[in-house]
Every structure is written in C-alpha cells, then in structure tokens.
C-alpha cells in the first residue's frame, strides 16, 4: 500500500489518460507536458522501454544512430541520422542514444536502446504509474472508464500506446511445440538442428540470421517473393542486416528460401513434417525438421476496445485511424507509438509511412500533442510569421534538412498558410493527408517523396481556393534542394497563391 500511495497518477478523473511506457508513450507524454496538458500515464511494465525491454530477440536494433554525421548531435538536422532517440526541446536531452552506445555498432544493442529510453524519461522528468495493468474499458456518458489493477481511470480522451507485439500465427501453425517470435529457446539449443521458419519478413530473417552459425538447415517459406530494402529503397522489405541467409541460399549453403504456402504441419517421432505448395506451379515439397518457428506477424493488444466499436483492419488488427491518429470509429480514443501506422496517409507508390518505427512515430506524437492542445484543450499555439520573400527559402530548407519530412515521406509535411488578411504563417508540421483532403485557407505544404526506384524528391502541394494541386520537383544526387533550379521552380509554383499575400504582407 505504501508503494501504491507513492505512485503518481492515482485512479480518478483526468483530462487525458495515456496507456503505455514504450517510446511512443514517452514521446507523447513529453510533448503533452511541454504544452502544459494535464494527463495521467499508466503502464503495466515496471520501467520505461516497452517492447525494447525484451526485443529484438537477437538483441540488436534494426535502426541507426550514427555517431558521426553531417550535423552534430543535438542539431535538428542530425535527427535524420539518429532513428532511435526521442525528441526534446532542451538541447541536453536530445540525441540521448549517442550518449549510451558503446561505439561498436551504429545499430544500438537492445540494452542500449532500453538504457536510452530510461535515461530520456529520467532526465526529462517524465512520470508514469508503473505496474498498473489496464484490464477493461467502458464508456460512461462522455467519459471512457479504464479499469485497471489499481482502480478506475476516467477521462474523455484515452490514448493507447500499447504496441503491436503479440505474436500471431495462422491456424495451420497452431500445433503444439511450434515456437513464436519471442518464445525461442536459448540459441545454443538449435545447434545441428533443421529449422523451418514460416514467414519471410524481417522477423523471420532476423531469426534465420541468428541461427545461421548453429542450425544444420534453415528453411524460410511464405507464398510471396522476398523483397529487400535495398531493392525497394525504403524500409519495405528485408533489411540489409538480415540478408546473410539470402546469400547462403543463393550460394547453396544450407539455407532454403521458398515461395510456398504451408499446407500442413504434423508432429512426427523425430520432430515435424511440413508440407508446402508453390502458388505458381502447385509443386509440393515435404520437409522433415526438428523445429518449426512461426514468424508470421503480430497483433495489436487492444483488449476490449473492439467491443467499444474501435474498428480495425488487417491481420494485425490495427485500429483504423484519422489523419490525426484518432479512432476512425470511436471519437476520443487515440493511438500513439507503432499503432499510429493505422493512419495510413497517402501511401503514394504503395509505400507506407515510417509510423511503425520510432523514427516516424516520434514526430507523429509531437503533431498529435499540438493537435490535441488546440482541438480539445482550447489552446492557441503561437505560429511564426513569415515575410513573402522568406517562404521559398524556408520551404526548400525544410525539404533539405527537416527531419520530419525525411523520416515521414509523403506523410508529414511542413505547412505554410497564406492569408491575404492576416499574412503568412508557419503552420508547423502537419499530416499531409489532412492537408490535401481538408478545405481551408490558401496554403502550401512541402514534403519529401519516394517512388521506390529514384532518389527522394520534394513534392509541393498548393491549396488555392479550396483545390489542391501537386507539383513534383526533380531529385538531386546530393539531396540538396536549395539551389537556383529549385528556387525558380518553387517560386513559379507558388506565384499564384503568393501574389495576393505579396500585396498585403510587409516587404
């Protein structure tokens, strides 16, 4: 009872409740605090870190923090090279990951990632009620009631940052002994064994990479051909860190990579018999193996939220969301962290946002906090005024150096509002989908885009008299979009909307 009474955020009424203590929740509570939004944060974990307290299973992140880059840690532009640190306004709390990594790899180890998150939470003074287990949810009038192990929390706004980290496997793999990501045995126990891995995405290749030095044979199977990130030039596909099994397969070194569905799995006296079938020619193969591992995806632990009406999609049961990460079906419920990938944005060229990873959702959290402050708490955030002549260089500087645009391509945009009456203002970073789909004042949005084959390039969206037009700029081999060619094109693209402002804005 002593511990309970000393813990922050006792059960009761709050203007807003956040559930979770992984990087998504930490970034959100930090951003809300900076805006002075009163809220409670509860988490069933005993300390900060979320899934990084356990995973990745082979204990090394897939995301960079480069200690040496074009910009120094602490500068805003440096965030492009640091995918793991949370964002802070105070310089001493930025680029925290660079201060905890031992220098042996620019991919932090899992313990380093966890340490970085703990350090961020401590140095920024974040408070969370740990050990508080969210058990059920109901709606009582205008308030959500979160039933927890410590009591009831009531609030008109509930934000869930609970990850997408419950392993999921299809019925065919629902066989006693089939292992899941996170449920592997100690790695040495796979020595001299034949291992069948169902799934050819990063989690499957991570496991294969980890077992390569030990396993006698590794089979990776799923119906579709493996895509590699170096081919797609995005985070879609297997990352280079995990490509070694692919090479072992290509060089016939004891790895089989198969485009095939799994027809059946049966226990045998020695292990398992797995039957596969090619979707293209119907050819069947049988594998006698010692272990079967399901790396077939994860689901969102939403508990009873679907009973409240929270709509989901896909096998991962990710909530459908608005451009500002609010449940598309239950207003007042929002999401943070990796669940934000349910707000899919424009998905131009089929490419998803990076909202599933820290380097993407950390920016979403800051945008969400500002959106909530204005839309739900009646705040009016200050916006910088711009002179007309500043607009073109400002937008091109953002395209060249703005980390939000680099990490969240075609998803987040820098927006400048052009109002003949009140002048030109920097409207900050906004979801691009909201910009192109909502009517509003004349405005310009700049983002970076990728098409899966070329270098990234700036894209300008001009909203004039309610209609949005798209203006794509050419890529640049050095990713520098501030030269004369870009200035000329952007000036031309903006001429129409700036003309009115030029006549009223101070020069």
């Amino acid at each position: 009872m002593v511990e309970l009474s000393e813990a922050p955020f006792p059960p009761g009424h709050y203007p807003l409740v956040v559930v979770g203590s992984g990087p998504g929740a930490l970034q959100l509570t930090y951003s809300l605090r900076r805006l002075g939004i009163e809220h409670a944060v509860i988490s069933e974990d005993p300390a900060p870190g979320g899934m990084f307290r356990r995973w990745p299973v082979f204990q090394r992140m897939l995301s960079w923090t480069k200690p040496y880059a074009e910009y120094k840690p602490g500068m805003r532009a440096y965030e492009r090279f640091d995918w793991n640190s949370l964002l802070a306004d105070e310089e001493q709390n930025r680029a925290v990951m660079t201060t905890v990594m031992d220098g042996t790899s620019y991919f932090p180890s899992r313990p380093e990632m966890q340490q970085g998150l703990v350090k961020f939470a401590e140095s920024t003074g974040l408070t969370v009620r740990y050990g508080c287990h969210w058990e059920a949810t109901r709606l009582d009038g205008q308030e959500f009631v979160l039933e927890t192990s410590d009591g009831e929390y009531r609030s008109p706004i509930a934000i869930f940052a609970v990850g997408i980290a419950e392993p999921w496997k299809p019925l065919v793999l629902n066989i006693d002994g089939v292992q899941e990501y996170g449920g592997l045995r100690p790695v040495e126990t796979y020595a001299d064994r034949r291992v069948f891995i169902a799934g050819k995405q990063n989690s499957g290749f991570e496991i294969a990479s980890g077992l390569l030095p030990l396993a006698r044979q590794i089979v990776l199977a799923s119906p579709s051909r493996t895509k590699l990130s170096v081919e797609t030039r995005t985070l879609v596909g297997v990352r280079a860190r995990y490509v070694q099994p692919y090479e072992d397969w290509a060089l016939a070194g004891g790895v089989v990579i198969l485009d095939a569905s799994i027809e059946s799995v049966e226990r045998t006296a020695q292990g398992y018999r797995v039957q596969t079938k090619s979707p293209s020619d119907g050819r069947t193969l049988a594998f006698e193996v010692d272990d079967v591992i399901a790396a077939t995806g994860f689901v969102c632990p939403l508990r009873d939220l679907p009973n409240l009406g929270v709509g989901t999609f896909g096998q991962s049961r990710i909530p459908s969301q608005t451009a500002f990460w609010e449940s598309a079906t239950v207003p007042g419920i929002y999401f943070a962290g990796t669940i934000m990938q349910g707000s899919q944005g424009l998905r131009k060229h089929g490419l998803p946002s990076n909202s599933g990873a820290v380097q993407g959702y950390r920016y979403n959290a800051r945008v969400l906090a500002a959106h909530l402050a204005e839309s739900r708490f009646g705040r009016t955030l200050s916006r910088r005024r711009l002179e007309a002549k500043e607009v073109v260089p400002f937008l091109l500087d953002e395209a060249s150096h703005g980390p939000e645009l680099w990490h969240q391509r075609s998803y987040l945009a820098r927006v400048v509002v052009i109002d003949p009456d009140s002048g030109i203002t920097d409207d900050g970073i906004q979801p691009l989908a909201d910009f192109v789909d909502s009517a509003g004042k004349d405005a310009v949005a700049v983002t970076l885009e990728a098409n899966g084959k070329d270098d990234p390039y700036p894209a300008i969206y001009v909203r004039s008299k309610g209609a949005v037009t798209e203006h794509l700029m050419p890529p640049h081999p050095l990713l520098d979009f501030e030269g004369a060619e870009y200035q000329r094109q952007l000036s031309s693209d903006l001429q129409g909307v700036l003309d009115a402002a030029l006549t009223t804005s101070p020069q």
């Binding site: 579709s224 979707p279 999609f313 096998q315 991962s316 424009l346 998905r347 098409n451």
Partner: protein
C-alpha cells in the same frame, strides 16, 4: 503484407480472380495489403501522382470527377488500374460511401503481378473492354 485470411474466401466470388486456384488465391494474401476507409474518405485523389491498384472487398465508393458523382464501385470492382498502367495521376476521386474495405497493390507492382497471373490480366482486359463499350455507348 497484412491481410486477414477471410480474404481468400471473399476473392473466390470475384470474377477478376475466378480463374485462380485456391493456392494462387491464398498467395494474394501475401502479395496485396489491406486498407479500410470510412465514409467520406478519399481513396484515390484526382490529380495526385503515385496512386495504387485497389480491389473492393466490402462497401461502396463514389467515382467523382471534379466533385461530381459519376458512378459507383462495389465489392468485386477494382480501380486505379488506368492511372497505374499509364503512369499518370487519376482523373477521378474515389470517395468511400460507406465503410470500404479494399485490397491494395502498389502501382509499381501491378505489371509484374499481371504478367505472372495472365488469367487475371485477361479478366482485367475484359473489364476494361466493358468500360470502353459503356463509354462508347454513352458518347454516341
């Protein structure tokens, strides 16, 4: 990809995939991804590049040109193929009339998909032929 396994059964009733075997339809679950849209959401945006190919699983959507409602898509229909095949922005908005559940294939992947599934390509050609015939009748 992230598609629920009920899709295999739904697709068995769609003419576009009528010639595929069950394993081939199952492999689509791994090739496409899934998206849902709420009433009023824009799925395709007129004039914006980089659109994708969609197959409607559930729900309906309006085809809107310059803000005018011209037609409707239903389960089994598909859209986005013209802009994807020609590499140009869509000439219409597709706006969800009710909750809309779709399969999505990135535009850049459509050619490879059709080439490896010639019967789907044939069915898609039939669909395009019907659209041309309807347009010709309308114009005449």
């Amino acid at each position: 990809m992230d598609v629920r396994d009920d899709v295999v059964d739904i697709l068995s009733g769609f003419s576009l995939f009528a010639d595929l075997s069950t394993p081939e339809r199952e492999s689509l679950v791994d090739t496409f991804s899934e998206e849902t849209f709420q009433v009023g959401d824009r799925v395709l945006r007129q004039g914006l590049s980089g659109s994708n190919f969609y197959v409607v699983l559930e729900g309906t959507a309006s085809i809107m040109v310059d803000g005018v409602d011209r037609s409707m898509v239903r389960p089994g229909d598909y859209f986005g193929e013209i802009s994807t095949l020609l590499g140009v922005p869509p000439t219409a908005d597709i706006v969800a009339r009710e909750r809309l559940r779709c399969l999505v294939l990135p535009g850049a992947d459509l050619e490879a998909f059709l080439v490896t599934h010639p019967r789907v390509m044939y069915r898609l050609l039939q669909g395009e032929a019907r659209k041309v015939r309807t347009t010709t009748r309308w114009l005449s």
